[in-house]
Amino acid sequence: MEQLMQQVVSGLANGAIYACVALALVMIFVSTDHINFAQGEMAMFSTYIAWQLMQWGAGFWPAFFIAIAVSFVGGLTIERVILRPLHTAPVLSIVVVFIGLLAICNSIAGSVWSYLIKEFPSPFPKDTFGLAGLIGPHQFGVVLVTIVVLSLLFVFFRFTPLGLAMRAAAQNPVSARLAGVRVDWMLALGWGLAAAVGAVAGTMVAHIVYLDPNMMGGILLYAFAGALLGGISNPGGAVLGGFMVGVLENLVAFIGNAIEKSFGVYIIGNGEKLTVALIIVITVLTVKPSGLFGRVVVKRV
């Protein structure tokens, strides 16, 4: 029983990380209809910026917010400079650009900061935070931060004119333009926001998985699963999907152990965690292609 509790809580903590990255994926998807394969590496790069600032003597929170700001500008610039000329290009060309971005971010980070893993501090007080023996202070903090980021985005999209304009630009670019929305800039803004959310994810994750240029590789995979499970067009759904994938993968191992213990046969275990998680995702998508909480997009042809 104690183990079940620990597995679920640890799954929630991992899920919070997937949720953060999934949120960044959703940001770009809702504003441009693309899935950014370089999202993880961009987040990793932002995290290195935060780390560098801390090496230069900044505290965690200043470094955190500066990194977010820099990432926002960086994301915006990438859209303006690299993707803008490709607006009319076929999807495949854009996918190639994303993969190129991934490789470039990874190699630059490696050559500037080396591939040695680095520790990344946690901003959450060690003794007064979290629930002893069940969830570490940092993991508890990550769950909270994820919820805060989600709420902020919700408020931004629902209640601010800029958020409304962004939604309009994504859903109906032509009408939005006619209504005076600068659609191009809205796309760039979407990229900036995604990079900023990615920076939050990176700085939160780095304490858990340690900082190195390849730290986001595995996470991006799970984040994709989470985003698709919850519905890639719905930020709230993606966050929920992230949490679900996190808990699911731990339960797979737990249930596998239980089966092995009581029946003496090995059916599933740690090696199949990802496989089982992905099978569940595929099943959900077959039944409900837009994800559990996704909006069904109807296109007129």
Binding site: E2, Q3, Q6, Q7, S10, G11, A13, N14, I17, S107, G110, S114, Y115, L116, I117, K118, E119, G133, G136, V205, I208, V209, Y210, D212, N214, M215, G217, G218, I219, L221, Y222, E249, N250, A253, F254, N257, G269, N270, G271, K273, L274
Partner: protein, 405 residues
């Protein structure tokens, strides 16, 4: 006629006797060696997922630069041709063929990675080109009967794990062992060695869990291990996951006797990120000096290494143990080439590589030497156990080798 031939033969043998020294100095070359140059081939992942090891190639290159600046080996300059294989076995095959067939190197040296070396293993032995001191700890590189042209370098995982197993049986009362293992060849090599070391005591392993390199964390696995009630933990993980496991065990308040594989023994990459508090008392097997371990700061070899780093690798990260590795393995290559003298044939090179007697290689732990023979293709075969205390490893016990287990 008969007499004259006998006379001729006699004359020959006399000539050999008289010119004993000179005959030795007679120069003989295979591809890749001339009066002025020795050409050595190398592949390394300068790009791709394992590019963290790229620094080894850069370190080796800098080492040969130093050798050349000092006049080379027996008057010959080393030409080091290092190609990027991106840790992809098919690419390694392509690059090594290029090295052997176009560049015509004398030997291939310290090619990095288990899957990559596996891909070229057969080729090197068919072409009869020395495949020396490969950079992998797998146990399959020391088989002179089947593969007389391939030789390993570092202590193999199999031996290391067997040493831990023996140590557990001898020192832990009523051991209940939990094992965390990376689910690939590297993890399995350790696991097999560990099982061999335990022998009939294999039932002492109460829990054995695996993780994939794509897993973001091993938290879930460590929870399972703790749940087994084990009092010994054998951690077969690369630095990132090893550090996570150390920290998670501490978070869960699980305090087993912790054995950590040598792959993750770097203070800077594993124990510092895991937290010094959480790492106290961990046991590992060491064979190289750790540049971040303060106890070596005044060691003359470490000082020489630092001077070399400052001069030939300015700006490089002096915390990175891979540069230590590069320096040590290159020195072994240098000694082997020196011994080969002017007979720079591939056959002689293998013969020299297989006849080191208790050679001291710099930066290898005191007490450990390199010995090889025509039947022993494992140059470094010993480790010393160490316990983590404060911020460094504290060596304890004797030098342990495969023979002693």
């Amino acid at each position: 006629m008969a007499t004259s031939r006998r006379g001729f033969v006699g004359g020959m043998s006399a000539a050999v006797v008289f010119s004993g020294g000179a005959a030795f100095a007679q120069k003989k070359y295979d591809d890749g060696a001339t009066d002025t140059e020795i050409k050595i081939g190398h592949t390394n992942p300068y790009s791709g997922p394992a590019s963290a090891y790229g620094v080894i190639g850069k370190g080796i290159e800098a080492y040969w630069k130093m050798v050349n600046d000092k006049g080379g080996i027996n008057g010959r300059k080393v030409k080091f041709v290092s190609l990027d294989d991106g840790y992809s076995p098919p690419k390694t095959v392509e690059m090594v063929r290029q090295l052997v067939e176009q560049e015509k190197v004398l030997c291939v040296f310290n090619t990095l990675g288990t899957p990559t070396n596996t891909a070229i293993h057969r080729y090197m032995n068919q072409r009869k080109v020395p495949h020396l001191f490969v950079a992998t700890g797998a146990s399959k590189w020391g088989k002179p009967k089947e593969f007389p042209w391939t030789m390993g370098f570092q202590p193999d995982y199999h031996t290391e794990a067997a040493i831990y197993a023996k140590h557990i049986l001898a020192n832990v009362k009523d051991p209940k062992i939990a094992v965390l293992m990376q689910n690939d060849d590297y993890g399995k090599d350790y696991w097999e060695g560990f099982k061999d070391g335990l022998g009939k005591d294999i039932n002492k392993v109460v829990r054995h869990v695996t993780y994939e390199v794509t897993d973001p964390t091993v938290d879930s696995q460590v929870i399972q291990l703790k749940d087994s009630g084990a009092n010994v933990f054998f951690n077969i993980a690369i630095p990132k996951f090893a550090a996570q496991a150390i920290r998670k065990a501490a978070d869960l308040n699980w305090k087993p006797v912790h054995y950590l594989n040598n792959v993750s023994s770097s203070v800077a990459s594993t124990l510092k990120p895991a937290g010094y508090d959480n790492s106290q008392g961990i046991i590992t097997g060491l064979w190289l000096m750790d540049p971040t371990d303060k106890q070596w700061n005044d060691h003359p070899e470490m000082k020489t290494w630092r001077e070399w780093m400052a001069k030939y690798m300015p700006g490089a990260n002096t915390e990175d143990g891979n540069y230590i590795y590069a320096y040590a393995v290159s020195t072994l290559m240098l000694e082997t080439l020196k011994k080969a003298g002017d007979t720079l044939t591939r056959e002689n090179l293998m013969k020299q590589a297989a006849s080191h007697q208790k050679l001291r290689v710099p930066l290898v732990l005191p007490g450990i030497t390199v010995s090889t023979s025509p039947t022993d293709f494992y140059p470094v075969q010993a480790i010393r156990l160490a316990r983590f205390k404060g911020e460094t490893w504290e060596l304890f016990g004797d030098v342990l080798s495969a023979e002693s287990t």
